[in-house]
Symmetry: C2
Subunit: 151 residues, 2 copies
Amino acid sequence: MTAYTATSLKAELNERGWRLTPQRETILTIFQNLPKGNHLSAEDLYNLLSEEGHHISLSTIYRTLKLMARMGILRELELAEGHKHYEINQPAPYHHHHLICVRCNKTIEFKNDGILKTGSRTAQKEGYHLLDCQLIIHAICPTCQRSLLPI
Amino acid sequence: MTAYTATSLKAELNERGWRLTPQRETILTIFQNLPKGNHLSAEDLYNLLSEEGHHISLSTIYRTLKLMARMGILRELELAEGHKHYEINQPAPYHHHHLICVRCNKTIEFKNDGILKTGSRTAQKEGYHLLDCQLIIHAICPTCQRSLLPI
DNA sequence: AGCTTTATTGAGAAGGATACACAATAACTC
DNA sequence: GAGTTATTGTGTATCCTTCTCAATAAAGCT
Ligand SMILES: [Mn+2]
Ligand SMILES: [Mn+2]
Ligand SMILES: [Zn+2]
Ligand SMILES: [Zn+2]
């Protein structure tokens, strides 16, 4: 959960015998510059890259998202839309959680410092190396409560 | 997040114009009697039912799991195995969270009263009707840290 | 208890997100 | 700069979940 640069990413990859590629660097940059509150799916990322003139294959995108999530660079969000979303994983003052309406998928972000502390403490106590810690609240938003539509 | 009986489930279903079926009642019973710490996927549930002589189609199982999750009876867990798992949703003394190894999927349950309080307060503040509240910690377990296998 | 309405089921097919296979490429090490 | 091998791109495969639709059976009313 530290801020990555192309250089530090390369160092961490090489340390494990892996390589920094233009594709990986481009994808990291995209997430670093993503406005707060945005989350990208694999396809979102693919389209965003295309708009910017970068062609990176969907396979590489899926592989890179998974890689970066497992390195702790990105967090993988299950926002109840049937596919995963990703955002940059940031420490304390930016770290946040998600309140999700299970009917319309409207999502609200909120902060709570205690939760990350609880997560860190729990992981440490069990000898786990922490990657990400997210509180997910499944709920029904005011609009959907008023609507008469079933489930 | 209250304890359901067949009767109270029927009441809540009928109130919305829905019906209590033998399939739904059977599935509720399965989850109520599931030993602590167990989570079932759709296919797990299908097999468990088959062993007990109940034939309930996979379609119905998927529909029922989704229905009960959206009613707040079950909680839907994303345990990083590529498919969802479900468990009964219980209030305070039984309410718990999950610490998951993203490499081997080993999962540890832990309790923390403050988190459910935070979740309830946050949902209420935004006017959301709370269904479930779960802290997910993605991490790497001691065994996987020692293994040299990539990601 | 019987009748009517319509939510629900079961079987199979379809959909969609993600992973895989493998030859071509290119990042790293020396 | 050359050799090694991780990574990419393309197409294909896999698997979880949802959809379709005719048959069934709960619920509500007499
Ligand atoms: Mn977010
Ligand atoms: Mn559990
Ligand atoms: Zn909503
Ligand atoms: Zn592990």
